[in-house]
Structures are given as structure tokens and as C-alpha cells.
């Protein structure tokens, strides 16, 4: 699919949880993104020169729209949270490979914190039996997006909703098993998922993060260590923005 870099109109941009925002943007090309792909969002303030990578949460091809759900972390996402409906922002995408869709068996989706958003498009796309395990520190968000699509299991660090503990704790406690794991979340969680997948003997696809500059594979900023030599640079590194962000767990070191 072609990558575009264009101004996209903001359809809405609302806070859905403490510091978490839900934004719909208009762009035909990006609305055709595959689950697990992401966009680079450019800041308006010139002092911030690098675009911010944000996963595509959901697409609406009919209306040529796509959705981002993001947490305010630093100045870039703070700026983004202040953009108003009707304004435009520059975005580049769709970027990265996305998840490999396995249409059979039982899929286990695992989303931790701000790793949950890309699971929405994935859950909509997967047509098999599926369970999603959602992990939060405390406040729950985006749960309703999965209702009617998957079986939902929730874990919170503080126990305020669902199981008290991590997504791994929840999976163990509920004895969840299946044929393919799809996961996105903080690195410690992904490490846990990798270990769990190995133990259960289930293949797992992990969506990784790294600081990015170009977002399209040119600068080699965003690598992870890989089992195989990557064909681009012939070393055991893969570019998260290009060969990833999704990798099979047994193909990478974490």
C-alpha cells in the first residue's frame, strides 16, 4: 500500500480517560490501513521536529476515516490533545507491516495500557474465535470497543476492575489458551507474553516500540535485535518502523 504524507482533518478529539484522547481523522489512503499499522503525526510547533508514531486504532473506510487513541506523555502529545475539531494535522502513513492475520482457531489478543488501541482494528478484522485480555494500571478505557467482538478479560494493577494483577496473571488465572497470540503493550509485558507463549507453545506476534526519526526505514534509528539477519542491512537488526512494528516473538530479542 502506498504511504502518504498529507494534512488530515480532525473529526473529533476527546478525552476518554485521564490523559487518554480519542481522535478521528479524515484520510482516504490511511483508512485502508491493515491492523497493527501506525502513522507518524507531525507537530505544529517547530521546536519539535520529529513526528510521533501512533498506532491506528480503527478504520472506517466508508467514511474515509481512521482513529487514534493516545496518551499524553510529553509536549508532542500534549500539543496533539489541544488540536480542535475542524483543524488539520500532518500525518504520514500507513506505516509498518501490521499483524499477520490467522483466520482459523482461537486468537488471544493482549493489550496493555496504551498498547490497547491497535487491538481494536485487529479484533474487528479477525473473524475467528477470540479473547481479548486488557491490562490497565487503574482506569479502564476502550473496553466498549471490544464488546460484541470478543470475550473480554480485564486485569488492573490496583484491582479496581477485573483481576488484580497483570495480563499474564489474568491469562494464567483464567487458563486462557488458543492458537495465536497478538500483543501490544509496554516492553516488560511483551517480555512476559514472549515467555508465556514459549511455555504454552503458542506462536505470538508482538508489536514493538522504539524511538523513530524517519518512520519509513531510512535512518535505522528504530531497530530491535532479531534472530535472522535482516536483509536490509545484513546484520541481526530489524527496523521496527519497516519490518515491524509486529514481529513473531521467536524472531526477536526483547
Amino acid at each position: 500500500m502506498n504511504i502518504v504524507k498529507q494534512a488530515a482533518e480532525v473529526i473529533c478529539n476527546d478525552q476518554i480517560s485521564e490523559g487518554v484522547y480519542d481522535m478521528w481523522l479524515k484520510n482516504m489512503m490511511i483508512s485502508h490501513a491493515a491492523p497493527g499499522q501506525f502513522v507518524s503525526v507531525y507537530c505544529k510547533d517547530g521546536s519539535r521536529i520529529l513526528p510521533r508514531p501512533i498506532s491506528i486504532c480503527e478504520t472506517d473506510r466508508t467514511n474515509k476515516r481512521f482513529r487514534l487513541v493516545y496518551r499524553v506523555l510529553g509536549e508532542g502529545t500534549k500539543e496533539l490533545s489541544r488540536v480542535k475539531k475542524g483543524e488539520t494535522i500532518e500525518v504520514m502513513g500507513p506505516l509498518g507491516n501490521g499483524f499477520s492475520i490467522d483466520r482459523t482457531g482461537h486468537a488471544i489478543l493482549i493489550g496493555g495500557g496504551i498498547g490497547i488501541p491497535p487491538m481494536v482494528e485487529l479484533a474487528k478484522t479477525l473473524q475467528c474465535k477470540k479473547t481479548i485480555v486488557l491490562g490497565y494500571r487503574d482506569a479502564v478505557f476502550l473496553k466498549e470497543a471490544f464488546e460484541g467482538l470478543c470475550e473480554i478479560v480485564i486485569a488492573t494493577d490496583d484491582g479496581s476492575t477485573g483481576i488484580k494483577g497483570t495480563v499474564i496473571d489474568a491469562i494464567r488465572e483464567k487458563n486462557i489458551t488458543g492458537d495465536m497470540i497478538y500483543a501490544c503493550g509496554p516492553t516488560p509485558m511483551l517480555r512476559g507474553v514472549k515467555a508465556l507463549a514459549e511455555q504454552l507453545g503458542i506462536p505470538a506476534q508482538l508489536s514493538l516500540e522504539e524511538r523513530m526519526a524517519c518512520g519509513i526505514g531510512a535512518c535505522l534509528a528504530c531497530v530491535c535485535k532479531s534472530k535472522d539477519k535482516d536483509e536490509h542491512t545484513n546484520v541481526n537488526n530489524k527496523r521496527i518502523c519497516k519490518e515491524g512494528p509486529v514481529f513473531f516473538a521467536d524472531q526477536i530479542e526483547l
Binding site: E210, A213, L220
Partner: protein
């Protein structure tokens, strides 16, 4: 209107190139940019064997700029010649191969592999701040600059551009050393060594501790050095450091650069190279400049009367 310039006997359809390491070997950006429109594609640094680069994080954003410590990850000269050269040769643009190494022998090995078939010019990176051996050590010492230049000159089938480090007291000294060693051109600036600390973790933000500062933040320093260097040598100068637009490029050209490179700006906008070319052309049109060569080094001393700038 003529926008073509000559560097070391090679004609460039316009002075705008890509800055090494910011444009890969052109493949990724060719989705946005018609490489046929560029003066040259300057490749990511290539070494004799594959290099795996530094630990991540390899970049950090800074105010108006960025730090990088990629560590020159590259597939080595074999894969480069096999894969990237045919791709680049399918376009009507010059190829400048940026060469890196950890020792003089490393550099020689790469330089000897590259002939007119593979490339048009070589750019020798003796100024990368992100590798422990070689790299910047060469670039900060005029004597070593002259030495490595003259050694490589003997082994090179193609014109040699020596890429200078800005992390020096006197840029004219290394510029002159490169010229004395037989360089056909010099390019500058590489990145300024910088640092960022994550105060919450009390750790360096980059895996490599320090990184190279690039982007619009460094433009004034780059421009000053390009001015100084181009007045210290008679070989052509390729200027870079923070160029984001035709206006920026014209500052470098007026300061004395024959060619200019667009680096970090590609990350700010994938169309940055093309916009720079268009910007130069429209400035020339507006000011009725028939030949870009008229503009090279045309900046004049400031004898503006004191006071008032309305």
C-alpha cells in the same frame, strides 16, 4: 536558467543532495521524491564489512534538532554494490557513496571497490562521532586528515570528498589539511557532539551516551563553518547542517558552498529535498538570476548604515 554546478569535474543538475545517513540509499524516500530530480543521492555510510550499529535508543529529539547515535549500521560494501547500486543507477542522478571505517585499511578496502560503474564520487566520513575507533579521531586532527586523504586519494578511482567534523577549534585547519592531502572537495558539517539526560531515570537518553546534533538548531554554526572553510580552500565545498528550504540552501551557497545537502529535514518532511530545489529555482526566477554559479560565495561584508532595520 542554469542550476547546474560542477564539483570535481562532475556535473550536478542542481546543487541539492541528500545528507548521508538520512536518506538510506534512496529506496524508502523514492516513495515521495523523484530521485531523478536530485543533484545527487549521498548514501548512508558503507564499511568493508557489515556493522551492527549502536544500542537503542539511537535518537532523541532536542529543541529544534535531534541527536543520533546510529553507529553506522550498514550491510557492508558487498551487499551495497549488489543491491543498492543497481537501484540507484536506475535513476538519472549522481551517486555519492559515503564511506566509513575503523582504520585506514577499512577505508581503503571500500574505496577500492568503487569505480565509475558504481558511483560518481566518494564522501569520506572521518567525522562520525558515534563510533569508538576511527571516525571522529581522524577528523579532529589536521595532520591525520591530510594523511588519510592522501592515502585514500592514491586508492580511489573516483573524486574524493572529505567530510569534516564541526567539533574542532579551527575548521580552516582541517579544511586546508584535506585540500593539502589532495581532496577534490570537502563537505561539512557533520553533527555536533551532544547529550541528553532523562532526569526521571537519571540516565543518558541515548544508548551510546552521546550523539550527534543535527537539524535546524545547528544551522548558524554550520553556515559559519562553511563560510570559513570555503574561504580557506580553493576546492569546492558542499554545505549542510539544518537546511530545510531553498532559503536555507541559498544562505549556504552565498556563504560559499557549491553544493548543499538536506539531512534531518527529510524527517520533518519527506518532500524536503524537492522543496529545497523548487525554493532555489523560484528565488532565482524572482531575482532574475540566470546562473546559480553567480550566487556561490556572493555574500558581502555588512556596511549597512548603523541603526534601523525597517
Amino acid at each position: 536558467m542554469n542550476t547546474s554546478v560542477k564539483i570535481a569535474g562532475v556535473t550536478f543538475q542542481n546543487p541539492v543532495m541528500t545528507a548521508s545517513g538520512t536518506f538510506g540509499s534512496g529506496l524508502e524516500y523514492s516513495e515521495f521524491v523523484d530521485l531523478n530530480a536530485l543533484g545527487a543521492v549521498v548514501t548512508k555510510g558503507v564499511s568493508n564489512v557489515p556493522w551492527k550499529g549502536n544500542e537503542t535508543p539511537r535518537i532523541a529529539e532536542t529543541y529544534g534538532g535531534m541527536l543520533n547515535a546510529i553507529g553506522l549500521q550498514n550491510p557492508g560494501i558487498d551487499v551495497f554494490i549488489e543491491r543498492d547500486v543497481p537501484f540507484l543507477r536506475s535513476f538519472n542522478t549522481n551517486i555519492i557513496v559515503n564511506v566509513c571505517g575503523k582504520s585506514t585499511e577499512d577505508y581503503i578496502e571500500v574505496v577500492e571497490r568503487l569505480t565509475k560503474k558504481e558511483a560518481d564520487l566518494l564522501e569520506i566520513n572521518i567525522s562520525c562521532p558515534n563510533v569508538k575507533e576511527g571516525g571522529i579521531a581522524f577528523g579532529q586532527n589536521p595532520k591525520m586528515v591530510e594523511e588519510i586523504t592522501s592515502v585514500l586519494k592514491k586508492h580511489a578511482a573516483l573524486p574524493l570528498i572529505m567530510k569534516l567534523s564541526p567539533n574542532v577549534t579551527d575548521i580552516t585547519a582541517t579544511a586546508k589539511a584535506a585540500e593539502a592531502g589532495g581532496a577534490d572537495a570537502i563537505s561539512l558539517i557533520n553533527t555536533l557532539t551532544g547529550m541528553k539526560i532523562d532526569i526521571n531515570k537519571r540516565k543518558f537518553l541515548l544508548g551510546n551516551k552521546t550523539g550527534g546534533l543535527s537539524g535546524p538548531a545547528i544551522k548558524p554554526v554550520a553556515l559559519r563553518m562553511v563560510y570559513q572553510a570555503s574561504h580557506a580552500v580553493t576546492i569546492p565545498v558542499i554545505g549542510m547542517g539544518g537546511i530545510c528550504s531553498g532559503e536555507d540552501a541559498l544562505e549556504f551557497i552565498m556563504a560559499g558552498a557549491t553544493g548543499v545537502a538536506v539531512g534531518t529535514a527529510n524527517f520533518m518532511d519527506p518532500y524536503a529535498t524537492i522543496k529545497t530545489i523548487v525554493g532555489i529555482e523560484s528565488f532565482m526566477k524572482k531575482n532574475q538570476i540566470g546562473d546559480i554559479n553567480e550566487l556561490i560565495g556572493c555574500v558581502e561584508e555588512n556596511n549597512r548604515p548603523f541603526g534601523g532595520c525597517m
